[in-house]
């Protein structure tokens, strides 16, 4: 595989984390325009851990993901009293606030005679874990997909369990969930925290893949895309948002003659899907039908 293909595949993998993060919240009925903040904050935190404090990468990812999860839960506890559009606007406001803070944060430490750390608007250079350890692009891609598989499997297991059912209940009918004895606010905060962790893992990987992060990358367009992936691919299964990412970053990026028009095509695709398939390609009903087909086949074989 040439480097271009590996880079595209790695991007698909890393963006998938934020897509899954937004998807988890869409399941519970919350539309967050702020998941890019957790991706970005974790990228900075993880980058700081490895580049400034010489931690190993797994510790960096852990630091980033935990920081993102904790901040997400705090923000969630403050904003989840708001419903619907108000919540969405609050998440957007928080994300912009986080980005603006990253624009002014300058903390540098000396590492091997060089100054490393976030430099405000100039970004955070020198997250060189990959070069220092001589890790190839292919190896890093495998790390991305390993963690993505782990995240996806966890989400699929959650979806089959009572916990997944609780999350879908919140998204489907909040009052009914409450009337069945579920503390809806508590489960929402849990979902927001988990979504923060997932976005955080993606952000931590991103920082180490590009070796350089800047606040501008974590602008609202990233969050909007994250939402669109789930809405395109479908909210019936965790595979849905991955299909959304593959369509956008994979398919549209790969077709060179629409380069430059990609956003127009993508926007049109979102609009058409929202009209004809409001809950995406793999929505709950199609997933249910697919499952029925598979279980019938298994019965036939047995």
């Amino acid at each position: 595989m040439d480097d271009y293909v590996i880079t595209v595949l790695s991007n698909i993998g890393m963006i998938s984390f934020i897509a899954l993060s937004a998807y988890l919240l869409l399941l519970t009925g919350e539309i967050s325009f702020g998941q890019q903040a957790y991706f970005g904050l974790s990228a900075y935190a993880a980058g700081a851990a490895t580049a400034m404090f010489q931690m190993p990468i797994w510790a960096g990812i852990l630091v980033g993901a935990c920081a993102a999860g904790i901040i997400a839960m705090v923000v969630g506890a403050l904003t989840l009293q708001l419903s619907g559009l108000y919540f969405s606007v609050a998440t957007l406001a928080f994300a912009e606030m986080a980005r603006l803070i990253l624009l002014i944060v300058e903390i540098q430490v000396e590492v091997d005679g060089e100054m490393v750390g976030p430099e405000g608007a100039n970004g955070f250079h020198g997250i060189r874990w990959m070069f220092e350890r001589d890790i190839s692009l292919t190896e890093f891609m495998l790390l991305i997909y390993g963690l993505l598989a782990l995240t996806l499997i966890s989400l699929l297991l959650v979806e089959r369990s009572r916990l997944g059912s609780v999350l879908r209940m919140l998204g489907s009918d909040d009052l009914l969930a409450e009337m069945q004895g579920l503390n809806t606010v508590r489960y929402r905060i849990l979902a927001v925290g988990a979504a923060g962790v997932i976005a955080g893992v993606g952000g931590a990987l991103y920082a180490h893949f590009t070796t350089y992060v800047e606040p501008q990358f974590f602008n609202v367009m990233l969050g909007v895309h994250a939402l669109a992936y789930g809405l395109i691919g479908g909210l019936g299964t965790a595979f849905g948002p991955l299909i959304g990412v593959a369509i956008d970053v994979g398919f549209l990026e790969a077709i060179r003659f629409i380069q430059g028009y990609r956003m127009i095509v993508f926007g049109g695709l979102v609009a058409i899907l929202l009209i004809f398939m409001p809950r995406g390609i793999l929505d709950e009903e199609r997933v249910h039908r697919l499952k029925a087909v598979f279980s019938r086949r298994n019965h036939a074989r047995a």
Binding site: R160, S161, S165, E178, G181, L182
Partner: protein
């Protein structure tokens, strides 16, 4: 079992419930009747914690539950169905009933994660028993939104009974049903819902009220205007007056 003392619910200037005193006794089937807008569903919503009362006290089995959140009240064992039917439309019949057990799973998040519908266990058998009771076992893998209306009402009943609650509220369980379907629902309430528990039925259909209720309470404009045995209450002049002043509304 359930006691309301001077319970009030105001929406702005409108008193939807005006100092209601009501005692629901153990084991009875109380019919809550009254014209449209008389406050029946408001009373149910106030008791189940959809919104807090504006005044008065509500207690359940000796516990003061005034102002409690809905999920806490539900966990005490007050379960309800809905006038306009609330199900999770994109979940299957089985999943809808299974979902009512979530709050009863002990052991925190890990237990919630470990429990799956595919596992054969007491919980899944209980769900199947309930579906069998209401005649929906054959439809267990059908999405709730694809069920016809009477089946949806029966599904709500199955869901309400799964955790074996001491008190069940049925909000117009025969709403939108034909006379034959109403008779089926009356039988279901009489044979399955009422035994071993206390039940409050909100209903307009006299066929159902007369068939299942042991006592009636009549609301009009948010006030309790009559209470007593079904025969006495339905003969009461005030009650007949409340139903548009016509005799035929009650005979229908």
């Amino acid at each position: 079992m359930l006691a309301l003392r001077e319970v009030e619910k105001r929406f702005g200037a409108l008193a939807a419930l005006d100092r209601i005193d009501l005692e629901v006794t153990d084991g009875e089937v109380l019919g809550l009747i009254g014209p449209n807008g008389s406050g029946k569903t408001t009373l149910l919503n106030t008791v189940t914690g959809v919104y807090p009362p504006s005044g008065g006290r509500i207690s359940f089995q000796g516990t003061d539950i005034t102002g409690w959140k809905g999920h806490r009240i539900a966990r005490l064992g007050i379960v309800r169905t809905f006038q306009n039917i609330r199900l999770f439309p994109t979940m299957t019949v089985f999943q809808n009933v299974w979902a009512s057990q979530h709050s009863r799973v002990s052991g925190g998040l890990l237990a919630l994660l470990r429990s799956r519908p595919s596992r054969r266990c007491g919980d899944t058998r209980r769900v199947e028993e309930m579906l069998e009771l209401v005649g929906l076992l054959k439809d267990r893998e059908v999405l709730a939104k694809h069920l016809p209306l009477p089946a949806r009402r029966r599904l709500e009943v199955a869901r309400a009974l799964t955790i074996d609650p001491p008190l069940v509220f049925l909000d117009e369980p025969a709403g939108g049903m034909t006379p034959a379907e109403t008779a089926d629902m009356a039988r279901l309430i009489h044979e399955v819902v009422a035994p071993n528990r206390t039940c409050v039925v909100i209903e307009h259909k006299m066929a159902l009220i007369a068939g299942v209720c042991t006592r009636l309470c009549v609301l009009d404009f948010g006030r309790k205007i009559a209470e007593g045995l079904p025969g006495d209450v339905l003969a009461d002049a005030n009650v007949r007056e409340a139903y548009l002043g016509t005799d035929d509304a009650l005979d229908a």
